[in-house]
């Protein structure tokens, strides 16, 4: 039973049809959560007594950072599944998760820099969290660069998966070591968020935004996976049928 | 023609099951299927030549038999057991000579054989000298291999045929860059190896003079229809 389910997941065609059915629902949910969270967080939540309105960027920054890290593990797990069970669809997921994850990591870094300007008076400080995020971006870019360096897709996927797995072992070590490094150099600048707890009126919209970002991540991942499945299977009969009869897309 | 030096193993123990068996093996490169559901058995004392045009998958088949390449489907068995369970026996009884000679130019012929890459054997200097003399490299033992011709480099690798105690030889184009006397030498070595109960799988573009040689034709492309 479970095995059959697993095999279905390995079939690009099955995936394409199923994801096509889920996608509209996921997209609507993601839009709903993001809209509610944005309005609530940006307009309705109270201003911070110390930082004023500039703190509101956490409604983008925090969810993006969460997903950047979670996305790295998702990518590596997908790669491991591909390596162990030789499942091509898992490699597709890994490949797409790398791009989406790198983009989110960049968003997290960018919003962090924008936040830094009013808070620290400069766009970039070597804060522990930002530094870790930067290294995470480098790890993502390494996986993408390695994948693109190979001509043969299968070999590229396997090599990238191996590198992603090495990265998962390293990510906690990197985070811990950067934390340790930061306490060693303890700059005189003020610390934000770290210890201060968010008031619940600020926290609630943040949670909504985090859920919204997770949904958005799923939508983005599925969309790019669908595109890649089509490109990979361009020669198969079911893709040809799709192209010639676009109205039967969801039924395949 | 000089006499061959003796092999380190004179006679392999008798066997009743096939030494090597490929069961329903398929191979794909990229999106191209080279061969499909191919079954081959190699008994002790047998030699098999794989024929086929360029790109038909001869080297791939040999690499699958060596365990270097995993088949897309099917299994490789050594002494009746799948390779995954028996890889130590398989590797320790295997001599694989690939396209490249695996001979280091900065080492001398003697050093190349004294420290084989696989770190498995330690051959005595005397045995190495004998083997090098047999493959026609007497007097070249202490010269760096970068000064050798392509044929001479291959001869260094071929000296392993004499030195090694491996039972299964997998030879990918062993005659490349080898002159006529060299070809005769390899044929004699192969015949002697079969005599002592060894087995050989080889690819070659030229006919091989070996009594009882079996042949396998790879048509290339999709053999299954």
């Amino acid at each position: 039973m479970a095995w059959q389910w697993f095999h279905q997941w390995g079939s690009p065609r099955w995936f394409y049809q199923r994801s096509g059915a889920w996608l509209p629902w996921l997209a609507v949910l993601a839009a709903l959560f993001l809209a509610v969270g944005s309005v609530w967080g940006l307009a309705l939540a109270p201003a911070d007594f110390k930082q004023g309105n500039s703190y509101r960027i956490i409604y983008l920054h925090v969810p993006a950072s969460f997903l950047a890290l979670a996305g790295y593990y998702l990518m590596a797990i997908a790669g491991a599944i591909g390596l162990i069970w030789k499942m091509k669809l898992a490699f597709t997921a890994m490949r797409c998760a790398a791009t989406v994850g790198a983009a989110l990591t960049f968003v997290a870094l960018f919003t962090g820099a924008v936040w830094g300007k009013p808070t620290w008076g400069t766009y970039w400080v070597w804060d522990a969290r930002i530094t870790s995020m930067l290294v995470l971006l480098f790890l993502y870019l390494g996986v993408i660069a390695l994948y693109q360096a190979f001509d043969r897709q299968e070999l590229a996927s396997k090599a990238a998966a191996l590198l992603a797995l090495v990265g998962t072992v390293n990510v906690p070590i990197i985070y811990k070591s950067v934390d340790w490094w930061y306490t060693l150099h303890q700059p005189a600048s003020l610390k934000i968020t770290g210890d201060s707890t968010l008031h619940s009126s600020m926290l609630q919209p943040l949670l909504v935004m985090i859920v919204g970002f997770y949904l958005f991540y799923a939508v983005a991942l599925l969309l790019s996976m669908r595109a890649e499945v089509l490109a990979r299977e361009a020669n198969s009969s079911w893709v040809r049928a799709l192209v010639t009869a676009p109205q039967s897309r969801e039924r395949g | 023609m000089p006499d061959l030096p003796p092999f380190s193993v004179q006679e392999f123990p008798a066997l009743h099951s096939p030494l090597l068996a490929l069961n329903d093996v398929s191979c794909e490169r990229g999106n191209r299927r080279l061969f499909c559901q191919l079954s081959v058995q190699l008994m002790a004392g047998q030699a098999l030549q794989i024929n086929g045009g360029n790109g038909a998958g001869k080297t791939s088949l040999l690499r699958i038999a060596a365990g270097l390449l995993a088949p897309a489907a099917g299994a490789v068995c050594y002494l009746g057991e799948p390779l995954a369970d028996n890889s130590y026996n398989h590797r320790s009884q295997l001599l694989f000579l690939g396209h490249q000679a695996a001979v280091k130019g900065s080492l001398t012929a003697l050093e190349n054989l004294r420290y084989p890459v696989d770190g498995r054997h330690r051959f005595s200097t005397e045995a190495i000298f004998q083997a090098l003399a047999a493959v026609g490299l007497a007097g070249f033992e202490d010269l760096p291999c970068r000064t050798f011709s392509a044929g001479q480099r291959r001869r260094v690798a071929l000296a392993l045929l004499i030195l090694s105690d491996a039972r299964l030889w997998l030879l990918d184009e062993p005659f490349t860059a080898i002159d006529r006397t060299g070809v005769e030498l390899i044929e004699r070595l192969m015949a002697a190896h079969l005599q002592r109960g060894g087995a050989i799988m080889l690819t070659s573009h030229q006919p091989v003079a070996l009594p009882g040689l079996l042949a396998l034709e790879l048509s290339g492309g999709d053999s299954h229809g």
């Binding site: 660069a145 | 590797r91 900065s106």
Partner: protein, 223 residues
């Protein structure tokens, strides 16, 4: 089991002894970079002393990166890699030998010339011993972690820059603990904690990296 390691180590050292010129290159790079620092920043010894621990560590890292590309590439080209994969007692032991040899001909010499750099960059006396100790242990981690990158990119034509890109983020903890060992010693604190962490990294790298390298090389062989 360890036979494979010892034999490979012996073979690699013999090979290394035949191309000493090539081996000297990372060392020359290490020393030349040190000469650029005062030219680019300031010859004042107070400034140099402050930068020295981090600078020396960054340069050791770069020198190691430069030496990684040929680690498996030559074996890949001449067919030795296939033989390595067929090593009867497991390829991991043979690979371990190769990686140890790499450290012996790059990491260890880098450590040995470090006093020269310490002089050039006016490293305070309290930092000398910690510098040597941290480089000795840390370059082991650099060699082993870097070998994973070398193995992953071995079949690529121009792997140099890519290899650097994928390995550098993995070097972050090594450089943090390495330079911290020296810095803390100069500031008068105990430097054993970062050194111990560095040693932990090195031991973990020695234990785990050969397995990843074997996996990566197997991928290449199935090409």
């Amino acid at each position: 089991m360890a036979n494979g390691t010892v034999n490979t180590l012996r073979r690699e050292l013999l090979l290394a002894s035949r191309r000493r010129g090539e081996l000297a290159n990372p060392l020359l790079f290490f020393v030349m970079m040190a000469a650029l620092v005062p030219l680019g920043i300031s010859p004042q010894s107070t400034v140099l002393a402050e930068l020295a621990p981090g600078m020396i560590w960054v340069m050791a890292l770069l020198a190691t990166l430069l030496s990684l590309e040929p680690l498996f590439a030559e074996d890949y080209r001449d067919g030795s890699l296939d033989q390595l994969l067929l090593a009867a007692d497991g390829m991991a032991f043979a690979v371990l030998g190769k990686m140890l040899a790499h450290w012996l001909v790059t990491g260890l010499p880098l450590t040995l010339v470090a006093p020269l750099l310490a002089t050039l960059l006016a490293l305070p006396a309290a930092g000398w011993l910690p510098l040597l100790a941290s480089l000795l242990v840390g370059t082991l981690a650099l060699s082993f972690i870097g070998a994973m990158g070398a193995a992953l990119t071995v079949s690529l034509q121009r792997s140099g820059v890519l290899l650097t890109l994928i390995v550098m983020p993995l070097y972050v903890p090594v450089i943090i603990f390495g330079s911290a060992t020296v810095q803390r010693a100069i500031e008068g604190f105990s430097w054993l904690a970062p050194l111990a962490l560095l040693a932990t990294l090195a031991v973990a790298a020695i234990a785990l990296c050969p397995l990843v390298v074997v996996g990566a090389l197997r991928l290449t062989a199935s090409e």
